[in-house]
Symmetry: D2
Subunit: 385 residues, 4 copies
């Protein structure tokens, strides 16, 4: 298989997300890193790109330069990853889609629901891939949960319980720490802090594994550290379009939790439990049976899990490989288009612009409900109502 090529906007020196994307894209050898505009300080970005091995003429100073440079090349990149500050996602994603590039955008896709709807419409009109990086959906056993639900192993899903609660912002004396402060400042973070940052991952997973969308929700949002304008803890009750009831807790003051992303599903015929911190085990309780441990890598799991598994049973697999699974999905999606064939359904699992849009709508609904004493709000984007 010829390698695809790939470029990145953002993710300059010192960023955490840049290396994660390069690692994820490169892990399986699907994508060669071929172009970049890595820093808003143009000279720094150019130099850093070269230090990472980009050719001189493809380490750009700005995303506009990169757009201009790549669009005219015959060997232009097959995929553009957008990992810039949130407020710029919309403009960059839009511009690259309009120029005919497939895009993987960091979450959030945009800052408003209207922008997200525009991206969804644009990607559909152009017939281009516009993925959004809800990376936890790449874990093999998360994909297996989805497969089990889809094939009916659990019967109708009555309830989904999701959590993403950590304790890394529990220190009130950190209030002036610039790495933390901006997150709770509406001017910089928008209408929501902890829910938009972490809770939304848990909500995406609830949708991903059930195959359902959120219709309405009620939120109790609080600032446990009183100086914060935005919430550091929220409980969200929701309803899904397939009839499932949802409950989601997110927190950044939950001392004792290191990461705290977990998912429980309760269906008519069984329950499932998975936690990101121990991602290689999935606990399955069949109705009337005993709790069983499903191991990543065991024989005869679903095609979705098998495709996303690299390491044999018993060895720990972790987050970078989950991340790489999204890139592997995208490689398959791009190749299938190039080759004019249907893509492997076990790869057709990457989050897409619609997910980004639904997430934006959920975030705004949480903020609205939180301001209104938990009043139930419509959580659907207008275009899907």
């Amino acid at each position: 298989m010829a390698k695809l090529t790939w470029g990145m906007i953002g993710g300059g020196a010192g960023s955490q997300i840049g290396p994660a994307h390069r690692l994820g894209a490169g892990l399986d050898g699907h994508f060669a890193f071929a172009a970049g505009a890595l820093d808003h300080r143009a000279a720094d970005g150019v130099a850093y790109g070269r230090s990472l091995g980009l050719p001189d003429d493809r380490s750009y100073g700005t995303w506009q330069d990169m757009l201009a440079g790549e669009r005219t090349r015959s060997d232009r990149v097959d995929l553009v990853t957008v990992a810039t500050p949130n407020a710029t996602h919309f403009a960059i994603t839009k511009a690259f889609l309009e120029a005919g590039f497939h895009v993987l955008c960091e979450k959030p896709l945009t800052m408003t629901i209207e922008e997200a709807e525009e991206i969804v419409r644009l990607a559909a009109a152009c017939d281009l891939i516009c993925a959004v990086n809800y990376g936890y959906s790449g874990y093999p056993l998360v994909r297996h949960m989805r497969a089990m639900v889809a094939r009916g192993d659990l019967g109708r899903i009555r309830l989904v319980k999701a959590e993403f609660a950590h304790g890394h912002h529990a220190d009130a004396t950190d209030a002036d720490n610039p790495r933390i402060r901006w997150r709770y400042d509406p001017a910089q973070a928008g209408v929501s802090a902890q829910f938009a940052d972490c809770g939304i991952h848990a909500l995406h997973m609830a949708c991903f594994v059930t195959g359902q969308a959120v219709t309405e929700l009620s939120a109790d949002t609080v600032s446990c550290i009183a100086t914060r304008e935005l919430e550091d803890d929220a409980m969200v009750n929701f309803r899904m379009d397939g009839g499932t009831v949802g409950r989601l807790w997110t927190s950044s003051i939950a001392l004792g939790n290191q990461h705290g992303l977990s998912l429980q599903l309760f269906g008519e015929k069984g329950g499932l439990r998975w936690a990101q911190e121990q991602p290689n085990q999935l606990y399955h309780m069949p109705l009337g049976g005993r709790l069983q441990v499903i191991e990543r890598g065991e024989p005869n799991l679903s095609p979705e899990a098998d495709r996303a598994t690299r390491v044999t049973i018993g060895h720990a697999e972790g987050m970078p490989l989950a991340f790489a699974n999204l890139y592997a999905d995208l490689a398959e999606a791009i190749r299938a288009r190039e080759e004019g064939r249907a893509m492997d359904p076990a790869a057709n699992l990457y989050p897409r612009a619609e997910d980004g849009l639904r997430s934006m709508a959920a975030i705004f609904a949480v903020a609205q409900s939180g301001r209104n004493a938990g009043a139930w709000c419509d959580a659907r984007p207008p275009m899907f109502r």
Copy 2:
């Protein structure tokens, strides 16, 4: 120490709660089982009481007989345990208090808030002990949580997260099982099923460890099995009079959970986590430190934990001993009164009529909020507003 004596109403042949009370009361030798009216079928109750070693004249056919018989004896029982069907708790408790007996009543204390207020007033007026059996507060490490909060180890408590979610009513085909059906029938169970049955224990624990009372709450109650009139799953957000935010999940359809009672506390200076299924470990996360395991039985815990511990560190201790701790508290309370001295503060932890009253108010508030799309409701009993 001379043994105290003790009698029981209810808990006849085949009941689960009867043996638990006899075991708890007898475990430390504080109470001798001396009288009983064990069954609403009078002859059966008399025979069963004799088979348990009660003297012929103190194995009564009805609670009214027992009241009449005991009140005139010079060696009348020191404590009466009421473990009859819920609807009879009020009348029996009231009658025995009026006759000057100390009472331990099973939960719920009454069927209405008004009745509970009457019991609270009566016990206060008579200066009698009226305890309510929220038995999980007897676990040594639950008492240690309370002690840690009280002495300030965690700073102000920002958030308490409680769960009591099991999966034992998840089988929809069980709908006609008489052991389950009545629980979801308002005619028999009142305004609430799963919250009143299990959730209220979790709420009591949240109050017990924080030393705070609930002021208002918002509930999302659902019947995951649609044929049930009362809820089998509920999420309750609440506020406490010391400023703590609360979140409580209870469920009976959570397949994979065997019992599912757990408590997390998040304070300014640290977090705590405890689960009933592994009650001998308490997880403590000090702010800026590492997660630590506090073991039941380790040296230099609090007096509250030490007093409630019988078995050395490392050995499993379980529910029957937690139960016995309530009886040990009551023995100390009764003896202190008899001897005209202050009771050991480490024993002054048994749940009392006020807790039963507050629980009733919470149950009614949950039902009201659940019927009103989660509208926030006052959860305080009228007499405490």
Copy 3:
């Protein structure tokens, strides 16, 4: 059922084992505590016995007095528990058996193999119960392990792996602590310290669950704290008479382990894992299947487990109830004899003099092998060779 009566030798004020026996014997109401010689300081023992409610004439100053007093009573105790210093077990047990009493002796049964053989022969000749307190065999799920092996669920057992490794003697500066020092002093403790104290429990469990006896063994015994004359850590490899290979690790310097008793079985058709610190779960791996969690209290376990279970599924049950199960077994054994009927086979599980004898032989074999660089030694008592 009329209560049986019960007396105790040893277990005076301040002892740990005394309350444990009284709790275990009294828990189910099978035995009334009726006589005692509780302390080698006669006056203290008499006073303590009275404080526990013994009648004046049955709180004895010495075991000889108790023997003389009880043997002539028509209501003499049905069972005598011996919980005195190790060196006195033989003489007391022998004297009471000769006088026709059933005996439960603390471990070790004797100080020598010869003495143990004498007790075994005596108990058989008198047709009396002589039990030895290997109390961990009372746990419901340990009994269920035995039942699963017996009914063939695991096929032939290839390997048993046992551990009893704690860290409570890891502090070298404790060398002069009198509560610890004597344990490592051959003059007081005999030929073995940690193996005889803890390892022997794990070995008994290996025998109990497999239904096999140890034939030979090889031991590596070390004193990790160099000032100790006897071992504080040992690894024992052994062979059993049903062909099972055994491995057993015991330690008192294993910092991080609070108790550390666990058992793993590996058979042709499946594996089992159980640990005392979480005694309410048993992990079962069927060949070709998935790891499953067997819960104490779940429906359709074995009669052996069901009989030993008091509390419903999901609630923690612990050591005191395991202990009580031995007393319940003994009550059934005594009653069956009195009533001239076969005893309930699910109760016929209490450790007996033969187990005490085999344990003595194993301890001497470990000491001998340890002194001889791990040379394999016959671990069978002479009378069973």
Copy 4:
């Protein structure tokens, strides 16, 4: 940093270890995959190499061709990985070292102690890197264990307890499965099966974290499945040159264990516990303190752990990243040599030929002791006696 280049011998189509090496070498971008002789079927290997992107002239048919081709190139590979059948490791490693290449050889380094000594001498004489792939030493928290021991956090290490016990060869009906049978056949596997395959990893880790070498050992080796000529289960007791006592259990019939590599250290001042299946937590028990959880990625760990960490705290990291850490060490070692500077001490942790030699000596000692009823054997290579 310019990329280094790297070639591989073995690891052709369908192999498990080939992708693991390519992933590990490529993950951080240190090494470009530049040459290979991937299959003993020459044409298949050439074609597979090209499919992986190797240039036509560097996808070789045999390792001899690769040696001839690479040795004369000015851009010859910086590192050669040997992942061929065990019996060929010696000849290939020797030839490439003699030609001046750095080598990373899969375990076992050789088939005999004499060969391993020859490699050690050769590498030293040539001043070349000869690493051996004991990949578990790449886990960040394993490296942190080593750092804690080295800086004295635990005091003198009294005991190390290692396990590598899985259940994947427990099915006796698998006896004719060719993927399993050869492992227990001395003609193909040498003197040891399970110890040489898995146990040796655990032994290497015991040496790695303590910084000590094994001096003598006693082994109990058994074939639980009787048709196997070589052992499928072994217990090894050993002594180390710093005075630490060791115990190691390895098994392939331990049903219920998926992987089963774990390590416990017990020192004068504390204990540590780590297990490969949950590699992101390390349990630390300080003497007189409480069990604490050390998290991979937490601030202020050792430089050794920090250097080996890519993902932030709370996210799961797994085996592929551990593997990549060895390649990162080798890249640093090669670059330091090229640049004539001392290498980063936190990278100087890759296993080397001496480790391979010591492992060979241990394997032969285990086999010898196993044949001789556990007699203690010298486990040191002759050149280190």
